[in-house]
Amino acid sequence: MSLDDFFHDETFFGDYTFKNSPRAIKRFPFPFPEDDYMYSVNMEPHVPGRPGSVFEHTFDVDEHYVAEMRDRARVLRDDPLRCQSLPHMTLAGWDLLELIMESFARDYPQWFSLTKNGNQWHWINRPLNIDQKFTFLDESTLPYGPMEYITRQAQGDFTLQDQRNDNLWIEAGMVTTQADWSLDFDIGMSFHEWHAPVPKAHEMGVFDRALKFLLQLQHGAPVRRFNWTMTVDPLLDTSPENYPKWGPGKTTLTKENIGQRQHLRVELQTLFRLPRSNAIAFPIRCYLCSFEDLVTQPKWARRLHRVVRDLPDELATYKGFIRNRPLMVDYLSQFDDGAPTSPGWWPDE
């Protein structure tokens, strides 16, 4: 298969030509293992999963790769503040560059290659047509800082957390596919500070437990969890900065168009301890799937209906879909016959 056959030529903006293939729908990381949802720390080891699944490799490179990287470049042209790194985070940026290049070259040798001769590295990214020789740990040999360089070539948002004073500090990031949070505002905050706007979870002790767990994270033993929200149209850049531009779209959903336009937005979040800097890398990979594609899997259709219908108002408000919940429940109820669902989130074979 040639590169052009695998990678879609599509947009996440304007005319929204993004579309999941049947294969992408089947492997979509549906985030609900049960028929209801409440916050939990829900972390598990990030170990290779089923072949073909989004867990097969350390980083999932899928059919949307090239188009997502184009969309990132577009967002950065409009707003360079989406990528920032405080001065002491450069070493963590090199750690991240190494992790991504080594993983990509190992897991997708048909697309990426990395050759090392001491600190003289040669990186080839065939899908993006990049051929770069550079000196590892020498910023002057790359066109961008190391974090920006590599995250312009990797799907998903990335943040880098420094660890000191028994806390984590979000002090670098590439954030263009975010669920309504601002790196520019949050950069420099401690773990509890940047999570301040999340309702309920503080009182439940979720962040205390999560921080305690993460401070102990070991190199070579990454972990993962899901998060999710809802997005109208396949817009990756649902930033607070641009909210006046995309917010109005929420008011134009109808019974007729909700199946195509309403998307479940799933974040596969992974956490890696980095070897030199002792920072934590936090890739936040966003997957989108339209309601009409989701309901092709009967188990997901039933379960999504129940989750959306029964979610506490506070969470539906925080996730930004309270105004469209009645439409969503109405649409999804057509596909829920009340039958029990099997445990776990994999679609029924």
Binding site: L81, F185, M189, E193, A196, P240, P248
Partner: protein, 202 residues
Amino acid sequence: MSKTDFGPSIKSRPVYGVLTPRPGSSHLIVADGEGGAAVEALFAQAPEMKAKAHLIYIPGANGTDMSTAMAALGAGQYNRAPTYASVRSRIVKVLGDGHMGLQVYATGTESLMGQVQRDAMEAGLPHDAVQTEHRGSLARRVQCVHCKGITENVTTDPFVCSHCGLNLFVRDHYSRRLAAFQGVNIDAEDPGEVPPAEERFK
């Protein structure tokens, strides 16, 4: 004039204390509005610190002006400034010149304390090296998340961004680096449907 009682604090907002004299080679004290009363209380506890004190006082945006009393306190150096922005370069210089043993005190509005903490952090001091005491107005300093402009002395919610003119609500989210709360457009989804402004931060 007593110390302000806040409601339950949000997770990203700093917690303020009461100014307490600490032994030091010199003392930088920055106050605005009703914060002048906290300075009086501080000097009353430790009159010996006055000679080594550099006191900067900014009359409150709400009209409270204690500058006559401040000038009479007997600080080794005294400066009255119209706004924080006008005196910022002086504060940055003092922080940068500060030797080991410089003590920093900030009292008055959250905006004033936040900006002193931010400038102290930028000068390399840990953020908790600045003692703070809240006095007077609850007015907030708010950054518009859309245009990035900062509006000073916000007392109502919602309010109009002084830079881009969008109607903003004040999110309970505070950045020490910016010394500001976050303002988010309130009528993006229904343009023009803006609830009446309530005085929340008097």
